[in-house]
C-alpha cells in the first residue's frame, strides 16, 4: 500500500525558492519584457515647474514627427471626463494637467508613437507656456497667511490644510503631564524618501476593440483593487477589465497607487485600438510616484522620577504633496501612526495630526511599512533613547522598566489598539546578550576616555501589520480581507491562487509550504499563482506585511477545508467511520492501525474517480479570510557606531537584529527579508533623501542625487529571533517584511545620538550625513 509520505517543505524548513529558476536564467517576465503585437509606446511630458498656470499647450510640431500616432493633452482627457481621477484618500488628482501644474514632474501631456525613442523625441517637441507661481514646499509654508493656494480647483478649499486627525485622550493626557516629574521633548523631521524599487512602474494597456476587453499589464502590488478602481474611474464593466501583474522587480509600497500614466495609456489604447506600453524612467519614478514619510513630528514624554512613563503627547504635520493620495485605510488620515506608544505601557496618550498640501509629488505610500508605522516607531524610539539619556538611565534599562509585560497581552493601548501578543523583555535580553551589551558599554566608556566618539543605539519596535479586520480597515470601502483558492488535481499535485502579489518576497515558495504543512502535498508539487485578476480570487494585495497574516491564513483555511473533505473520502476508501480516522503527515489512518491509511495523493485521485454517493466530485475550494485582529510583530535592534571626529563620518560597526514575527514559515526567506529591510533602513538613516529647493525643484531625482546603499556601505547584519506565535493567526505567523525598516532607522540614529550625547546633541534629522554630524561636533567645540 502506498502510504509512504514525503512532505518536503513543511513550515519551518528553509527550502530553496521555487521561483528562482526563471530569474537566474534571465527568464523572468517583468513588465518591460512583455511585447504585444502592434504595441505602441508612450512617453509623458512633465512639468518643469512646481507651481504654474498653464497658458497653452501646443502639440502641432510633436504630432507631425516620425512614428507619432497621437498626442494626448489634459484637454483631450477632459473631453472624456478623465482629466481627473479619485485618489485612495478620497481626494482628486490630475491625470493630465488642464489648469495648473502643482508639482515638478506632474503629468502634462503624453505622446504615443511606434517606438520608445520616437515617443520621447516628440514629447520634447511639445510646447507648453507656463505662468510660474510661488511654490509651497513645506507644511510650515503651507500654513503661512498669504501662502499660495495650491488646490484652487476644489470649491471649498480656502487654504492648504487637508485634514486634522486625533487619537487617544486629550484630557487624561493633560492631567498626567501635570503630575510629571519630567517631560522630555523631541522635535524631529522624518524626511521625504522614496521606495525606489529597482524596477520602475509601468503598464501595457491592451483594449480589444472587437470584444471590449481591456487587458492591463501593470507593475501593481494590488491588481484586484486596481481593477475595481479602474472600473469606477473609466466606467468600463468590471468583467471586461483584466489586470495582470507580471513578475515585479521590487515594490516596497511604490507600486500600490494608481498613477496617471496607467489611466492615460488605457485611454490611449481604447482610442487607438492598439496596445500601449508606458514604462517610466528612474527620474519619473523618483519625482512623481509614491514617496514616503515627510512627517514633521513633535513628541513629549512625561515620566516620573523613577523613570516610569506616564503619558505621551504627539503632534505631527504631514506634507502630503499636491494631491492627498496617500494609500491607507479609509478611517485613518495619518495611517496607523497612532501606534506611536510603541512597546511601552504608557497609561495615556494624545496624538494630533494635520495634513497639508504642498507643491510636491503626491501619494504618501508606506515605504516597506504598514501605513506610517515607521514614522511612529521612529519617533517613540528616538524619544525613549533621548529620555533615557536625559534621565541618566541606561537605554536598555529604561526600556525594560516600561515595556508592556508578557502577561498584559492582549494589551489595550492608550490610542485604541489591541496588541495580540508579545514578549518584549525576552527579545531585548536576546539582543543584549548577542551584542555583549555590558562589555560593550564598558568598551564605549574606555574609548570615550581616549577621545573616541562612539555609541550604541537600541530600538525596541512594535509593528502593526496584516490589515484588516475588514470592519475597521478598508481601502475605498473594500474590506481588507484576502483570499486563497486551492485545487488539488487527480494526481495529487495542486495549484494555489491568491489575491496577493509577490514582488520578491518568495510567495511561490512560502505559500506552497503552507499547503505542505496543512495537506501534506510536497511544496514542489504546489504551483502558486498570483496577479491575474481573471484567474485569482479577489484580494487586496501585498503591502503592509499583510500577505502571510491574511492570505497565508486564507491558504491554511482553504487547505483545512480540503482536508475535511479528504477525511470523508478516506473514510469511504478505508471503509471506516470518519471519527475513527487520524490525520498525520499527509495521510489519514485508522486509529490503532497505522497501516490502514490513505495518503492525500490517493485521496485526491479518489476525489475524481471514486467518491461516495452524493458527494460532489473534485478537491478544490476557496477561502476569504478576514482577520479578527492585526498582528503585532516586534523586536529589538541594537547598533554600534563609531564617528570620525575629523570628517563626521559615521561607521556602523555592528548591527544585531532580533525579530519576533511569530512562527516562521521559511526561515531562509524571513532572514532574507530582514537583511533587505535593514539595508533599506540604513539607507534611510544615512543616505536617502528627496528634498526641494525654494522653487520646488526636486533634488533627489536620480540615483546620483538620491543615494541608495551599495554593498560597500551596507553593514553586515547579525540576526537573532524569539518566537511568540500570534494567538489568532491559524499558523501563529505575524508577517516580517517591514519590521526591519520600521525598527532599524531609530536604532541607527539612536547610536549616533548616544555617541553625541556627551556633546549635548539631542537631534540630527535623517539622513544623518557626515556634514551634519561634523557641524554638530563643531558646534559643540570639537574641531575648532
Amino acid at each position: 500500500m502506498a502510504t509512504e509520505v514525503h512532505m518536503h517543505g513543511r513550515i519551518g524548513e528553509s527550502i530553496k525558492r521555487k521561483e528562482d529558476g526563471r530569474f537566474i536564467r534571465g527568464k523572468g517576465n517583468y513588465l518591460d519584457d512583455i511585447e504585444l503585437p502592434g504595441m505602441l509606446h508612450m512617453a509623458i511630458l512633465r512639468s518643469p515647474h512646481a507651481h504654474a498656470r498653464i497658458s497653452s499647450v501646443d502639440t502641432a510640431a510633436a504630432s507631425g514627427m516620425p512614428g507619432v500616432i497621437a498626442v494626448v493633452t489634459g484637454e483631450l482627457m477632459a473631453q472624456h471626463k478623465l482629466a481627473w481621477m479619485p485618489t485612495l484618500s478620497y481626494d482628486t488628482q490630475a491625470v493630465l494637467a488642464t489648469d495648473k501644474v502643482r508639482f515638478q514632474g506632474q503629468e502634462v501631456a503624453a505622446v504615443i508613437a511606434e517606438s520608445k525613442y520616437q515617443a520621447e523625441d516628440a514629447r520634447d517637441a511639445i510646447m507648453v507656456d507656463y505662468d510660474v507661481l510661488p511654490a509651497v514646499i513645506s507644511p510650515q509654508q503651507a500654513k503661512e497667511a498669504g501662502a499660495a493656494l495650491i488646490r484652487d480647483d476644489k470649491e471649498n478649499q480656502k487654504d492648504n490644510h487637508i485634514y486634522h486627525w486625533e487619537a487617544g485622550d486629550q484630557e487624561t493626557t493633560k492631567a498626567a503631564f501635570a503630575k510629571a516629574d519630567k517631560v522630555v521633548r523631541l522635535h524631529t523631521f522624518y524626511p521625504r524618501c522614496h521606495p525606489a524599487p529597482l524596477e520602475t512602474c509601468g503598464c501595457i494597456a491592451d483594449v480589444n476593440g472587437a470584444t471590449g476587453k481591456a487587458t492591463i499589464y501593470m507593475t501593481s502590488q494590488a491588481p484586484h483593487a486596481i481593477r475595481t478602481v479602474f472600473a469606477l474611474v473609466t466606467g468600463l464593466p468590471e468583467q471586461n477589465i483584466r489586470v495582470i501583474s507580471p513578475d515585479i522587480g521590487g515594490g516596497f509600497g511604490n507600486k500600490v497607487p494608481v498613477y496617471p500614466g496607467y489611466v492615460v495609456a488605457t485611454a490611449a489604447s481604447l482610442l487607438i485600438g492598439r496596445p500601449v506600453k508606458w514604462v517610466e524612467d528612474r527620474t519619473e519614478n523618483l519625482i512623481s510616484t509614491g514617496f514616503a514619510r515627510d512627517f514633521h513630528m513633535t513628541g513629549d514624554l512625561a515620566v516620573d522620577k523613577d523613570g516610569k512613563m506616564l503619558a505621551l503627547r504627539v503632534h505631527l504635520d504631514s506634507d502630503n504633496g499636491a494631491f492627498f493620495a496617500d494609500a491607507q485605510p479609509t478611517k485613518f488620515k495619518a495611517g496607523l501612526f497612532h501606534i506611536v506608544t510603541g512597546s511601552y505601557d504608557i497609561p495615556t496618550a494624545h496624538v494630533t495630526a494635520d495634513g497639508y498640501y504642498t507643491n510636491k509629488a503626491p501619494g504618501g505610500v508606506a515605504y516597506r511599512c504598514s501605513f506610517r508605522v515607521t514614522e511612529a516607531s521612529y519617533l517613540i524610539e528616538r524619544l525613549v533613547t533621548n529620555a533615557a539619556i536625559e534621565l541618566g538611565m541606561d537605554q536598555a534599562e529604561f526600556r525594560m522598566k516600561n515595556f508592556i509585560q508578557p502577561e498584559q497581552f492582549p494589551y489595550h493601548s492608550a490610542t485604541g489598539w489591541v496588541y495580540d501578543s508579545g514578549d518584549y523583555p525576552k527579545a531585548m535580553n536576546v539582543a543584549l546578550e548577542q551584542l555583549g551589551y555590558d562589555e560593550l558599554r564598558k568598551d564605549v566608556k574606555a574609548r570615550r576616555k581616549k577621545g573616541e566618539v562612539t555609541g550604541i543605539g537600541i530600538a525596541s519596535f512594535t509593528e502593526v501589520v496584516g490589515a484588516g479586520h475588514g470592519a475597521e480597515f478598508d481601502i475605498l470601502g473594500l474590506r481588507m480581507f484576502d483570499s486563497a483558492e486551492l485545487r488539488v488535481h487527480p494526481t495529487g499535485k495542486a495549484i494555489l491562487r491568491m489575491g496577493t502579489k509577490s514582488q520578491g518576497q518568495g510567495h511561490e515558495t512560502t505559500f506552497a509550504q503552507i499547503v505542505t504543512e496543512e495537506l501534506g502535498i510536497p511544496a514542489a508539487d504546489v504551483a502558486v499563482e498570483e496577479g491575474d485578476t481573471d484567474t485569482a480570487p479577489y484580494g487586496l494585495g501585498t503591502y503592509a506585511s499583510r500577505s502571510t497574516p491574511v492570505a497565508g491564513a486564507a491558504t491554511a483555511m482553504v487547505a483545512r477545508k480540503l482536508r475535511d473533505k479528504g477525511r470523508k473520502i478516506a473514510a469511504h476508501l478505508l471503509e471506516a467511520a470518519e471519527e475513527d480516522l487520524e490525520w498525520e503527515s499527509g495521510r489519514f489512518y485508522v486509529k490503532g492501525s497505522p497501516d490502514k491509511a490513505k495518503t492525500i495523493q490517493e485521496i485526491a485521485f479518489a476525489a475524481y474517480t471514486n467518491i461516495p454517493d452524493g458527494m460532489e466530485a473534485g478537491l478544490e475550494g476557496v477561502h476569504y479570510y478576514d482577520p479578527p485582529n492585526m498582528t503585532y510583530p516586534f523586536g529589538t535592534y541594537a547598533v554600534v557606531i563609531d564617528i570620525d571626529k575629523g570628517t563626521g563620518q559615521v561607521k556602523v560597526r555592528r548591527v544585531v537584529a532580533v525579530d519576533d514575527c511569530g512562527v516562521r514559515i521559511n526561515p531562509m526567506i524571513v532572514e532574507g527579508q530582514i537583511h533587505g529591510g535593514l539595508a533599506e533602513g540604513y539607507g534611510i538613516a544615512f543616505m536617502e533623501l528627496i528634498t526641494f529647493d525654494p522653487e520646488g525643484n526636486c533634488i533627489g531625482s536620480n540615483f546620483i542625487d538620491y543615494l541608495l546603499p551599495t554593498a560597500w556601505e551596507t553593514p553586515r547584519f547579525e540576526l537573532g529571533e524569539t518566537v511568540t506565535p500570534s494567538p489568532h493567526h491559524p499558523l501563529g505567523a505575524k508577517g516580517v517584511g517591514e519590521s526591519p525598516t520600521v525598527g532599524s532607522p531609530a536604532a541607527y540614529v539612536n547610536a549616533v545620538m548616544d555617541a553625541l550625547a556627551p556633546y549635548g546633541v539631542t537631534n540630527i534629522d535623517m539622513p544623518v550625513t557626515s556634514d551634519k554630524v561634523w557641524a554638530a561636533l563643531r558646534a559643540a567645540g570639537v574641531n575648532e
Binding site: 530553496k16 525558492r17 521561483e19 528562482d20 529558476g21 526563471r22 530569474f23 537566474i24 536564467r25 534571465g26 527568464k27 523572468g28 517583468y30 518591460d32 519584457d33 511585447e35 520608445k116 525613442y117 525606489a196 524599487p197 529597482l198 524596477e199 520602475t200 513578475d247 515585479i248 522587480g249 521590487g250 516596497f252 524612467d281 528612474r282 527620474t283 514582488q503 520578491g504 518576497q505 518568495g506 531562509m668 526567506i669 532574507g672 527579508q673 530582514i674 537583511h675 533587505g676 529591510g677 535593514l678 539595508a679 533599506e680 536620480n702 540615483f703 546620483i704 541608495l708 551599495t710 554593498a711 560597500w712 551596507t714 553586515r716 547584519f717
Partner: protein
C-alpha cells in the same frame, strides 16, 4: 547603421540608429530581456553585461560601439540545462528576491571569479558596489558569490584529479 556582434557565442546583427543604446539593442532587437534597466544615470548596474569578459553597464554603451565585440548576457551563463556555478550559488544561498538586479550581479560575480577565484568578503563587496540591490541587503549575494567560488574550486580540483588519473596524463 549595421551592428554585428557576438552574443552568448552566436553571431547577431541588426540595423539601428547610431544613438541606440546597447541595452535597448539587446532587449528590443535581440529580445534578450534578461538584461534590465533600473536607472538613467549609469548608477544601478541592472544592465550589466560582459564585453570580452569585462563587466560593462550596457546603458552606457551605444550598440554600434559594441560592433565586433563578444558579449555575454545572463542568458549565456548556463550551458544548456547546466547552470553555471554563479547561478547555483545565487539559488543555494538565496542571493535573489525580486530578481531584477540578479543578472547584473551574477555577471559581475562571474567576471570577479575569473580574475580572482577566491575573493574575500571585502573584495566581493567592492566588486559589486556598482550594482544596486534593493531587496537582499547584499548579505546573501556575498554568500552566493562565495558559494560559486567554492563550486569552481571543486570543479577545478576534479578536473585536475581526472587529468592526473588519466593514463599517461600529466
Amino acid at each position: 547603421m549595421k551592428v554585428t556582434l557576438t552574443v552568448n557565442g552566436s553571431d547577431r546583427s541588426g540595423d539601428v540608429e547610431p544613438r541606440v543604446l546597447l541595452v535597448d539593442f539587446l532587449r528590443t532587437n535581440l529580445r534578450l530581456t534578461g538584461t534590465h534597466v533600473g536607472c538613467d544615470t549609469s548608477s544601478c548596474g541592472a544592465c550589466t553585461v560582459l564585453i570580452e569578459g569585462e563587466p560593462v553597464k550596457s546603458c552606457t554603451v551605444l550598440a554600434v560601439q559594441a560592433t565586433g565585440r563578444s558579449i555575454t548576457t545572463v542568458e549565456g551563463l548556463a550551458q544548456g540545462a547546466n547552470l553555471s556555478p554563479i547561478q547555483i550559488g545565487f539559488h543555494e544561498e538565496h542571493g535573489l528576491q525580486c530578481g531584477f538586479c540578479t543578472p547584473g550581479m551574477m555577471l559581475v560575480g562571474t567576471s570577479l571569479l575569473e580574475r580572482n577565484p577566491n575573493p574575500t568578503e571585502d573584495e566581493i563587496r567592492w566588486a559589486i558596489s556598482g550594482n544596486i540591490c534593493r531587496c537582499t541587503g547584499y548579505m546573501n549575494i556575498v554568500k552566493a558569490i562565495k558559494h560559486a567560488a567554492m563550486l569552481r574550486e571543486a570543479a577545478t580540483a576534479t578536473t585536475r584529479e581526472k587529468a592526473g588519473a588519466a593514463p599517461g596524463g600529466q
